[in-house]
Each structure stands twice: as structure tokens, then as C-alpha cells.
């Protein structure tokens, strides 16, 4: 079974042109990559395109992948670069905020233990967080996304983005301070709950 194999083995086989092995990598990491793209772009269509393109580029450039390195930061870095291009294109052609689908529908919260009010509040909170992250300057948004939504270490972020460690720390700190300010009403609630 392809999915039982470790990344290194799947990468080795993919390099030899084994598409089934690469499909295993796609299945394993597509959710991560899609999440990064969605958090950065706030648009499911664009995030899907970015995810798709990221895997295609990864496949074509597998020879550049350093054997022994982790696949996840590498594919996420490709997705971040593609998302940046997409975001820049969007900046040149401003339209409605992509997070607003217009129908007011919100993503489902899988946990159904709460009352409808609580589910709605959770959704609202989640949207507020997504909007706050999407409102960050691009460089801060990327570092915050990779740290909080991908659980990457400072070192991994620095390597993925080709930045000095101190730059990553600074961007992360500034981004978080902005988020603290933006999400102040929700933070008061969290502290009250905690």
C-alpha cells in the first residue's frame, strides 16, 4: 500500500516516474497545502488552483529536493510562492473581498455538541480570525500561517522562505501584535473562558 510508505521512499519512487507514489504524497499533503493556500488567499477556488499547481511543480522539480529533508516545508514553500503570485495578480485587479461568498454561508464546524448559537459563534469567531490573518501584510501573513496553521518551527520557516532566523522572529512578532489588536474583542472572550 503506497500510503503506508515513508515520504523518502515515495519521493525516491516518484523521481523515477512512479506516479502512484506521487499520488501518495499528494493524498498525504494536499490538505496541508490547501490550508496554507486558503489561509493566505481566503478563496477556495484560488487555493485549489495553487494547491494543484504546487504539486505539479513539485513533481517536475523533484530532482531539486534535497534527499533527507522534510517534504512538507518544501511543498508549502512552493505553495506560498504561488499564492504570492496569485495575490499580486489580485492586487492589480481589485475585486470583492474573496472571503465574502455573498450567500452568508459559513464552513461547517464538525463538532455538533454545541447549541446552534454556539456553532454560529464558533463560525463567527473562525471567520474573524481568518479575516484578521488575511488583513495582515503579506510577509507577516506568511510567517503567521506557516507557524500557526502548519506548525512549522522558526528554523523551518526560515529555510522554506530563505530568510534569516531573526527576520522570521520579527515578522512573526509584528504579525501577532497586529492580530492581538485586531482580535481584541475575541481575545477578551477567550480569556473569560479560560
Amino acid at each position: 500500500m503506497v500510503l503506508d510508505r515513508p515520504d523518502a521512499q515515495l519521493i525516491g519512487l516518484s523521481r523515477q516516474g512512479d506516479r502512484e507514489a506521487f499520488a501518495g504524497l499528494v493524498t498525504r499533503y494536499q490538505q496541508k497545502v490547501f490550508t496554507v493556500a486558503l489561509r493566505l488567499l481566503q478563496d477556495r477556488e484560488e487555493a485549489r488552483d495553487v494547491t494543484q499547481e504546487a504539486f505539479i511543480r513539485a513533481y517536475r522539480n523533484l530532482s531539486r529536493f534535497h534527499t533527507g529533508a522534510a517534504f512538507s516545508p518544501w511543498i508549502c514553500a512552493i505553495a506560498v510562492n504561488l499564492a504570492r503570485d496569485c495575490w499580486r495578480r489580485r492586487q492589480r485587479e481589485p475585486g470583492p473581498f474573496p472571503g465574502d461568498d455573498g450567500d452568508g454561508s459559513l464552513p461547517d464546524v464538525p463538532d455538533d455538541r454545541y447549541s446552534p448559537e454556539k456553532i454560529w459563534a464558533a463560525k463567527e469567531k473562525r471567520q474573524a480570525v481568518q479575516r484578521a490573518v488575511a488583513a495582515l501584510p503579506w510577509d507577516y501573513r506568511v510567517t503567521v500561517t506557516l507557524r500557526h496553521f502548519q506548525n512549522m518551527s522558526y528554523e523551518e520557516i526560515a529555510r522554506s522562505l530563505g530568510l534569516p532566523l531573526n527576520t522570521v522572529k520579527t515578522r512573526l512578532r509584528r504579525g501577532r501584535l497586529m492580530l492581538q489588536k485586531e482580535l481584541a474583542p475575541w481575545l477578551a472572550g477567550e480569556e473569560g473562558n479560560g
Binding site: 499528494v26 490538505q31 490547501f34 517536475r60 479560560g194
Partner: protein
């Protein structure tokens, strides 16, 4: 709040990220244990981190199929490794070609040649001497007990090697001085441009 607390508060996010060195993290824990104001700051950061703890998003189920369908249309992964030696070789070849073309052009244009054949002649004479030194019957085969002879032989070879490098240097110098700096610059730039184009052509596709 004092300056000491300022220092620790700066480090709270890194502490929560688990990015502080073990020793600093231990000191931070001790400080937090004794400072209610810093504990409140910690709670603020913890609540922000909790807010940011969103679940991963589920992509459309057809995503994998879409990616694999696109891959079916594309070429297999490139076999060139990351540092692209083929590209580097191309670059070196192009530079060499540009230099050779420039040199031939210089000769064709009726360059003053006396110094060049002289330098090349010296080079060949030394090479010939070296060849005969190492050939059967040369000093290496003078016998095992003749230490003085061996020493003399090695000294002669060392001298010739120095002379060889001198002659190579002289040849290069004659070549270098034969053209103006501007021509060399143009040839170098042309070679570099050719090399970069070739390098790019040999690179695995990224688009």
C-alpha cells in the same frame, strides 16, 4: 511592571512556541511562577494562540484526481540534479568558445604574432624535456643506490616544472595582452550570455 518583566514578556511568544533554549525556558517558568502580571500577559498570548488554532481545511475530493490528470499530460520529473552540472558545463564551453573565437579573430585580423609562437615553442620544448626525463632510460632509471644522481634528477625535474608553469604563464600573458580590455569584456559577456541561455535551456521546467 519593571524592566525585568519587559524582558520576559518579549520572550513569551517564543516560550509558547517552544523555541526558547531549555535554560531560558526554565528561567521563564520560574519567573512566571512568581510574577502575576507576567502570568496575565502569558494568558493573553495563550488566548491568541488558541484563537489561531484553526483546523485544517478540507479540499475538494477531486483535487488529487485533478492533479494526477494534469501530471499525466506533463513530462516525467527532470533527472538533472539541483546544482545542474550540465548547465555549468555548458557555461564553461560557451566561455571557451567565445575566447577561441576571439583568438582566431585576432589572428585573422593580422595580429603581431612573434611573441606567441615563441611562448608556445618554449612550452613544447619543456614538455618534450619532461617527457624524456620520465621515459625509459631517463634519470628515474639510473639505479637504486645512486642517491646523489636521483637528487640531481629530481632537482632538474622541479626546475623544468617551474619553467613549464612560467611558459604557460607567458603564453597566457601574450594572449591576454594581444587584445584590448574592451574586446575581452565583450567576449566574456557574450560567452556568459550564451552560457546562461544554455544553462536555462537545460534546466528542468518550473512553469
Amino acid at each position: 511592571m519593571n524592566k525585568h518583566c519587559d524582558y520576559w514578556r518579549e520572550l513569551i511568544p517564543e516560550y509558547l512556541d517552544g523555541e526558547l533554549p531549555a535554560r531560558t525556558a526554565g528561567e521563564m517558568a520560574r519567573h512566571l511562577g512568581s510574577c502575576p502580571a507576567c502570568r496575565r500577559e502569558l494568558a493573553r498570548w495563550q488566548s491568541l494562540f488558541a484563537l489561531l488554532d484553526l483546523p485544517e481545511e478540507e479540499p475538494a475530493p477531486a483535487l488529487t484526481a485533478g492533479i494526477m490528470a494534469k501530471l499525466e499530460e506533463s513530462a516525467p520529473p527532470s533527472v538533472y540534479p539541483g546544482y545542474r552540472p550540465a548547465g555549468a558545463l555548458g557555461l564553461a564551453l560557451c566561455l571557451l568558445l567565445a575566447l577561441a573565437a576571439g583568438f582566431l579573430g585576432w589572428l585573422w585580423a593580422g595580429a603581431p604574432v612573434p611573441a606567441l609562437p615563441k611562448a608556445i615553442g618554449v612550452l613544447f620544448r619543456i614538455l618534450d624535456d619532461l617527457w624524456h626525463s620520465f621515459a625509459p632510460g631517463g634519470f628515474i632509471h639510473t639505479g637504486t643506490g645512486e642517491a646523489a644522481g636521483m637528487l640531481q634528477g629530481w632537482a632538474a625535474v622541479a626546475g623544468r616544472v617551474v619553467w613549464l608553469f612560467w611558459a604557460i604563464g607567458e603564453t597566457l600573458l601574450v594572449l591576454a595582452r594581444s587584445l584590448s580590455a574592451g574586446i575581452w569584456l565583450i567576449m566574456g559577456a557574450l560567452g556568459l550570455a550564451c552560457g546562461l541561455m544554455l544553462n536555462r535551456a537545460m534546466r528542468p521546467g518550473t512553469r
